[in-house]
Amino acid sequence: MRRRYAIIGLLFTVAVAIFAVPIIVPAPGGRDVSPPPRQESRYSAAAKEEHAEKLDTIKRDMETTGMLCRIECSSDMRKLAAAASKSGSAPLSEARKKRS
């Protein structure tokens, strides 16, 4: 009887060990039970990079637009000034005029 209990106890111990060991010590290449924050942080890093790139694009668009404005306005003014200089009069004679 005692021997039977000993065998049952031994089998139970072996069974527990078989089920418990893979849970405590993951097999190499086995299921990764670690939580997924790494993936999330990788995703958010990519999203952050994309966000930064888009902001950079917008900044460049604004800077270029500023330059386009200056060049085109300057060109328009030069044309007007040249025309006025040729005609020999101010481009607006009826404007309010103040002597300094």
Binding site: D61, T64, T65, R70, D76, S85, S100
Partner: protein, 565 residues
Amino acid sequence: MKDMLAANPHFEAMAWTSGSSGSSGSSETAVGAKLERYDPAVRQAWQEGITAVRLGRGFESAALPVHGDSGYVLAVPAGEGRQGLVALIHADAVDEVGKHQRRNLRLVPYPDNSRFRTQATEPGKLRDKQVTSGDANGNASHYAVDEVVVKLRRQLTPRELLQLRKTLNLSVAREHRRQTYVFRSKTLRTAQMIDYFNKNWNPVFAEPHYLYLTNDGKPAGRLAPLGAGSPLQTDVVPNDTLYGQYQWNLPEIATESGWNVTRGKQDIVVAVVDTGVQLDHPDLKGRLVAGTNIVDPSAPPEDDVGHGTHVAGIIAAEVNNNEGVAGMTWYTKVMPVKALDNSGAGTTYSVAEGIIWAADHGAQVINLSLGNYAQAQFLHDAIKYAHDKGALVVAASGNDNTDRPGYPAAYPEVVAVGATGSDELRAPYSNYGDYIDVAAPGTSIASTYPGSRYAALSGTSMATPHVSALASLMLAADGSLSNDRIAELLGKTARDLGAAGKDTEFGYGQIDVRAAVEAAAGKSAAPAASKQAAVADTQNAGQADVVQQRLLERLQNLLSNLLGH
């Protein structure tokens, strides 16, 4: 000066000044706003400008505070005397571009629209999803929650329509040929209406009413018009003020040498279905044909956003007129079709109606710099209608850096366009995927902007009109080309970028104007601008030679044996 101020509202004040600095004989004639209204730094810069001109020099101030934005003072001397112009300029375009591009590149959530209650859904499903950041726009489709688009199998009788209105508490928002309706309900939501119509009417389709967003006379030039086949020895470099320094995009795709083959024709029309166009922009005057305003049919298709004017300028800004920018074509006409409202958004119905209107009014090319991630059958039907009428439909892939197919770009009848930068890489915002056909420059593209101004914008919205403009040049080279043949030649003549052959980032590659118009004109027997295709052709030719040589050798051996030699 008054005319200039009236035509250019960003000029706040202007003065003509003459005489030596500090002398009693100097004078100043000023128009515009009074300087007392501005920051002391502005008044100081103004005085520095006056002094500079009277010393015979030019002047350009640093950025100054103007109306909460930025501005600057410019001074230019004139002639031999100590005289010239001084102006205070409000650089409002810079701030507008910043706001515009945050939306265009999807860095902000979908803008509020007072006329539509909008929610985001998973594309293709009606499961609500909140869009709380700009990034989330990439996975969202937007629709009016109290509307449905239904195409019935027959026209409704007035009695049936009345019955529907009463039963479902409906109003008819829009109606197309008495068969397709946009219904709006005071009590039911979209999913409930779709369910009702599917159960009771067996419609062709019943779908949400989606919203689509922007995705982000003869020239006075000295050169004569050039038809297909006319010879010209050297490339044309336009004299437009901003061309040399800022329009990297045109030389990048061999536009100048393409102009040696054709510069377009006045009877080719590209419809720009967008936010409208500034109809009196000095760089677009004479290049527009009559258009329409779908959003407000009683008003002209004026641009109240900026997007459509920019797109139109890429296609058709006057070339070689000593002003602003050069478009890709010299004579192509633009048909402004306003289908997107002042928030830059338009519904399925508006965009579809705009496409149908353009096709019915003779547009050979239809430019759609807009998109969403939802497939709408009504929109697809409109595209098929335009395609069947012979129009080439070109659409932007989208600015969310995603491989999720965007529509209308991903429809098979549409040429889908991705964007590249000056580094010839896919632009970081450009969508990608199997459906991309070709790529074109899309980053920091200088073009026309409302208020008779110019701006640089980025997006697949900007890449798309390059392809539309090229299609119009190809039609000028050979007016008998079908839309499908043009689409085919666009791909065959594209310069392969990225992975060899067609890939998900660039499609067949970046468009090549010279190669495409030559192929269209029938000048190149084998239009294979693709490097890989050219290499493969050479290899195949070499292999054929070897096989032929071996056969000859075997034949000679056989003859020798037979003849006993």
